[in-house]
């Protein structure tokens, strides 16, 4: 089996799984569809490993393969085929995606057991994995766009999975529409590139870009900024980020898979994949880097004040992706991709632990109601702690090595980039604060009722299941994860998945330790070999200085969080009172939703209503249509009036007409 064959099989497995599960939706008993879904993704991961092994069998300079199945849109100059590109970057991504996906599928097998949409869930989830793999394996812009849109679609159906919740359907359409805005950016970027390079094939475009575009040429900057729009929409970066917190309406494993580990990092992958273009248009790279930097700061401030635990993690995800975007935009490609991977591990872990916690709380997601779960859920607590420490960036957890790798690169490039680096450290400090705010509030302190009953061996159940966002009573057909709750302590598949991720979050960093081994960097090198920036590697000592600063900031953050939320619980309300305006700003998410509503949603709806009520009813219905109609009516009335029914009138008409004709000929002949 060649590397490309196994790569095609990586794609095929989840697709087949999705279709089979969908077609057999009435026939699968119990957890069968869940196990089937997990099995195909595991198989897909196995093929990804095969691809990796095959790829490593070639010399570093020859690790790039293109494989085509059939012509897709091959006409009028457009040269799109169903084509994949297998190179270190795409193999890195398929490994990360299929690996994390397999674990999250495993977790879902148990977590979703009592949901009435069990089969539908796994069909969607498999379809998502297929789309994501298609996105990262695509060999040209058209297939990339297809994967790009498919993940958006899969995200939509999974966000509105509990579709009887109005909040879920709203969140779904919001996510989809913002993602379509991103698609449009990607399509427009493709247009600009096609116009100059006459191709949509990656390799041809990259090759031609060196010749047709000058350094920072306006067309290329525009193309890269459009790519940036796509990346920002998909990766929930400001100002296209408002869909991500709402996307937490989906089941928690979905949040772990799509809205933390894989799909939202597609923007990072996109910029890394397009590095030959961004290299030549540093202005565009600077813009996206600043965007990422703003996002990481703003999202962290919001995460400090949210009380919904899933939303805190969602804002944290935005913030972490801000780091990655910042990294790949300034040329820290391998560091950015490394952080993408470790983030996938620890953020998926955090969501899984949060899911377990929410189950124990009988569906409630509010931090205000949680507390003291440390003894009731020791396993979940440990997992959450490991994930949290990795997120905070405490040595030796994986997040420490990856995040600070990006920041060290920024310091190394110097100049204005140092400002970005400092912002990154500020963000890291806030990360430590909000992470340990969650941990102290949920796991420490006085045990709440649910925690105490769990200690006695009873899992709490809500009398009436309600929507955690609105308190509305749930529809019991579709609308909540089912009457039974599943926690990691009691369900083996969840436990296994979380344990595996906890190990990865703990030791995932060893793949890239400055001065010791740089496996990720060396593996990805062939992809980024043509990049000017990738040669700017910070020295080992700079790296270690950066890592030390990062570690110090993390410890400081944890200490302060300990002071505020554990040692002196009065501090938090006091701070809130003292900084009331800032608190209001944060808790209202910097008013982005309101702003977008005011600037885009309302004017559009008003225009539509205006079109319907004024223009359509009055101008078209009365003016154009009515005008034509009355003209025809008037004409026919005139003709009708001449039809009197008097036979002799008609006869007279004929005679007169004949006489006139005769007279005419008489006169004209003489």
């Amino acid at each position: 089996m060649s590397a490309t064959t196994s790569a095609w099989l990586v794609l095929l497995c989840p697709l087949v799984g999705s279709v089979v599960i969908a077609l057999g939706f009435r026939r699968f008993p119990g957890r069968a569809s869940g196990w089937l879904g997990t099995a195909v993704i595991t198989l897909s991961f196995a093929f990804a490993v095969v691809t990796l092994v095959k790829l490593l069998g070639y010399g570093p300079a020859h690790r790039q393969f293109v494989s085509t199945l059939w012509k897709y849109d091959f006409t009028a100059g457009v040269d799109a085929k169903v084509q994949i590109l297998v190179d270190p970057l795409s193999v890195f991504m398929i490994l990360a995606v299929s690996g994390v996906s397999a674990l999250i599928h495993l977790y879902s097998v148990a977590y979703m057991t009592s949901d009435r949409g069990y089969t539908r869930y796994f069909s969607y989830l498999n379809f998502f994995v297929f789309s994501m793999l298609l996105l990262v394996l695509a060999g040209n812009f058209i297939i990339l766009i297809v994967g790009w849109a498919f993940v958006g679609f899969a995200s939509y159906v999974l966000i509105s999975f509990w579709y009887r919740r109005r909040t879920a359907t709203r969140a779904g359409i919001k996510a989809f529409v913002i993602n379509v805005v991103g698609d449009v950016g990607l399509v427009l970027a493709t247009f600009v590139l096609f116009q100059h390079t006459h191709s949509v094939d990656y390799l041809k475009v990259f090759h031609a870009a060196h010749h047709v575009f000058g350094h920072n040429s306006p067309a290329l900057v525009v193309a890269c900024l459009l790519l940036g729009v796509a990346a920002f929409a998909k990766s929930a970066q400001i100002p296209l980020h408002t869909w991500l917190p709402d996307a937490m309406e989906g089941p928690t494993p979905v949040s772990a898979l799509i809205h933390a580990a894989t799909m939202v990092t597609a923007g990072v992958y996109l910029i890394a994949r397009m590095h030959p273009l961004f290299d030549q248009a540093p202005t565009a790279g600077d813009v996206t880097a600043i965007g990422g930097c703003l996002t990481l700061l703003i999202a962290a401030t919001i995460a400090l004040v949210m009380v919904d635990i899933k939303r805190v993690i969602a804002y944290s995800t935005m913030s972490q992706i801000g780091y990655m975007i910042m990294g790949v935009s300034v040329g820290a490609y391998s560091a950015g991709m490394f952080h993408l991977m470790t983030h996938a591990f620890f953020k998926a872990l955090l969501f899984m632990a949060a899911g377990s916690l929410i189950s124990a709380m009988a569906g409630s997601q509010s931090l205000d109601r949680m507390g003291g779960f440390r003894k009731a859920m020791p396993f979940t607590f440990v997992c959450f702690l490991v994930g949290g420490l990795a997120l905070t960036g405490l040595p030796p957890f994986s997040g420490w090595l990856s995040k600070d790798d990006i920041l060290a690169f920024l310091d190394h490039r110097g100049g204005g980039f140092i400002a970005l680096g400092i912002a990154g450290y500020v963000g890291a400090f806030m990360t430590a604060l909000y992470t340990f705010r969650m941990i102290f509030r949920a796991f420490f302190g006085e045990p709440v009722r649910e925690a105490r009953s769990l200690e006695e061996g009873h899992l709490a159940h809500a009398d009436v299941p309600t929507n955690p966002a609105t308190g509305e009573e749930e529809d019991t057909d579709v609308g909540f994860p089912g009457p039974e709750h599943h926690i990691a302590e009691r369900d083996m598949p969840m436990k296994v998945a979380m344990a595996a991720l906890a190990v990865l979050a703990l030791i995932g960093g060893v793949l890239q330790i400055p001065g010791v081994d740089r496996s990720i960097e060396r593996f990805l090198e062939p992809t980024f070999a043509d990049s000017v920036l990738s040669r700017e590697v910070p020295s080992t000592s700079t790296d270690w200085v950066g890592l030390a600063i990062g570690a110090a900031i993390a410890i400081l953050g944890i200490a302060i969080a300990y002071r505020i939320w554990f040692a002196a619980p009065d501090t938090a309300p006091n701070l809130r009172r003292r900084f009331a305006p800032i608190y209001t700003l944060f808790v209202n998410k910097w008013y982005f939703d309101e702003l977008i509503d005011l600037l885009i949603v309302r004017p559009t709806l008003m225009l539509g209503r205006l079109g319907d009520s004024v223009l359509e009813r009055i101008v078209v219905a009365r003016g154009v249509t009515g005008g034509t109609e009355s003209a025809v009516r008037a004409g026919s009335a005139a003709v009708r009036r001449s039809q009197t029914g008097f036979l002799r009138y008609y006869a007279a008409g004929m005679v007169l007409f004949l006489a006139a004709v005769t007279l005419y000929f008489l006169v004209s002949s003489t």
């Binding site: 539509g608 078209v620 219905a621």
Partner: protein
């Protein structure tokens, strides 16, 4: 076997069916409609993709003194549209056959006439013959609305008759003018055969005014803003199978007319009016989109989305680039393939919502109708042209063509792409998702709906996997058609 057999077969089948007992008519016509479909498939299979000119030509003198020929032929522009026509008519007839209709013989006879008319209009290679078929295909619909329609059908019929007859009148005048003026300017005997007229380029001033006649007829027929006054009443009143083919196929005849007649015969005028046509198309996109996401009526959402989609098709044609033309052809097929199932689905939804097509009275249908929900979801995302569907490739090529011709228009047209996502999902969510409304009684679709819907959905998926099926057949002809408009640019510059 000549194309005449394909064209007249549907009418013949309907005539034979009229001799059968009433309960059998529908099933007989539906089953036999697979024969023209099979013939159409054989034509598509035998079509030589490397050839730009006409294939399978039938050419006989019809009215010798006026130079009118009974000339039929297939090329890249119409070969796939003929197939689309047969597919959609078969699907609609199958859908209809599972239901009771008063006076079934007459009902199916009108369908047969309509299909023969549409096929004739697609195949006609003579201007006069095209006009004749164009009017022939409209006549059955006056009766289908008037006799089997719902709601205010008399008013709807009146509007449709007035609009289309005024349009046809303009086209007739323009067609006669083309034959007369072209031959008299060159001093040759009169002819209406398109291939002969191609060699008789009209003077600029004649092109300019004759263009307007054809444009009026085609824009009304599609319809584009502001010629869509008949649309709301007409679509609301038509019986479902009629509206499915009307929106799916008949609107394409007009768009096809631009490619078949207007671009090759009036190249200078096409360039001259390019901006006007692009702006009309753009207005239709924005107008159709914004109305589609405010109207509460499910059927009207589909109707307005058709206006937007036809706007895209026109945009592609008048980009005067081969990408745009290719996209327009593909999008004609795609739009037909999604709009017909959407109307069937609207009917299915209304059945479950107590007969109302009002979205505000629907909701939560999906749970007890998973098959319907799945089919609807596929059709809905194809409608919004999600990348991965053939509709996306259509829109992509259209917008690429426009992007090359007029960047600003392409960028504004993207608003329509975003809007499509909103209205398609809005219909889906409002009917399938959210809480169950009081009047809704949900159940999964029966064999009748499934027999019409499932094949169409399979075709949508197949075309999504391989849009090249259409593109490779049309590319040569589109290239030469569009190339005709590129030379007069130089002439005009001189």
């Amino acid at each position: 076997m000549t194309l005449s057999i394909l064209i007249w077969l549907p009418m013949a089948i309907a005539l034979v069916a009229a001799a059968l007992p009433r309960p059998w008519v529908g099933r007989f016509v539906a089953a036999l409609s697979l024969v023209p479909l099979g013939i159409a498939i054989s034509y598509v299979a035998r079509f030589n993709t490397g050839h730009a000119g006409l294939q399978f030509v039938t050419d006989q003198t019809w009215v010798g003194a006026l130079g009118i020929h009974y000339k039929l032929g297939l090329d890249g522009l119409n070969v796939t549209l003929v197939l689309l026509c047969c597919v959609l008519f078969s699907a609609s007839l199958v859908w209809a056959a599972f239901r009771e209709w008063p006076q079934p013989r007459l009902f199916y006879f009108f369908f047969g006439v309509a299909q023969s008319g549409v096929l004739g209009a697609f195949c006609a290679q003579d201007l006069a013959l095209f006009v004749a078929f164009f009017d022939l295909m409209l006549i059955p619909f006056y009766f289908l609305i008037g006799m089997w329609g719902t709601g205010d059908r008399v008013r709807a019929t009146t509007k449709l008759v007035v609009y289309t007859l005024v349009g046809s009148f303009f086209m007739l005048a323009a067609a006669i003018a083309t034959g007369v003026v072209a031959t008299s300017e060159h001093g040759v005997p009169i002819t209406f055969v398109l291939s002969s007229l191609h060699h008789l380029p009209l003077s600029r001033s004649s092109q300019e005014w004759i263009f307007l006649g054809f444009a009026a007829a085609f824009l009304v027929k599609m319809p584009l803003v502001p010629f869509h006054g008949w649309l709301v009443d007409g679509y609301k009143a038509m019986p479902i199978p009629a509206v499915a083919v009307f929106s799916g196929v008949l609107s394409k005849v007009a768009a096809y007319g631009f490619l078949r007649i207007v671009l090759p015969l009036f190249p200078y005028a096409s360039v001259h009016y390019q901006m006007v046509m692009l702006l009309i198309a753009l207005a239709s996109i924005l107008w159709g989109t914004s109305l589609a996401f405010t109207t509460p009526d499910a059927r009207l959402v589909v109707a307005y989305s058709s206006v937007a989609q036809l706007g895209f098709i026109t945009l592609g044609i008048f980009s005067l680039r081969s990408q745009g033309g290719q996209g327009a052809i593909l999008q004609m097929i795609n739009h037909g393939l999604v709009t017909a199932p959407l109307f069937f689905i609207v009917a299915a939804l209304a059945l479950r919502a107590g007969g109302s097509e009002d979205l505000r009275e629907m909701g939560g249908i999906a749970f007890r109708a998973p098959v319907l929900a799945a089919l609807f979801l596929i059709v809905a995302v194809a409608t919004l042209a999600i990348p991965g569907s053939a509709n996306f490739i259509g829109e992509f090529m259209i917008l690429l063509g426009v992007f090359k011709a007029k960047v600003v228009i392409a960028v504004v047209a993207f608003l329509g792409v975003v809007g499509a996502a909103v209205y398609a999902l809005r219909v889906y969510i409002a009917s399938m998702h959210n809480r169950v409304k009081p009047g809704v009684r949900s159940f999964d679709i029966g064999l009748g709906d499934l027999a019409a819907l499932a094949p169409l959905v399979i075709v949508i998926i197949a075309l999504a996997l391989y849009p090249q099926f259409v593109l490779s057949r049309s590319q040569q002809t589109v290239k030469s058609t569009v190339a005709a408009t590129h030379t007069p640019i130089k002439v005009a510059a001189r």
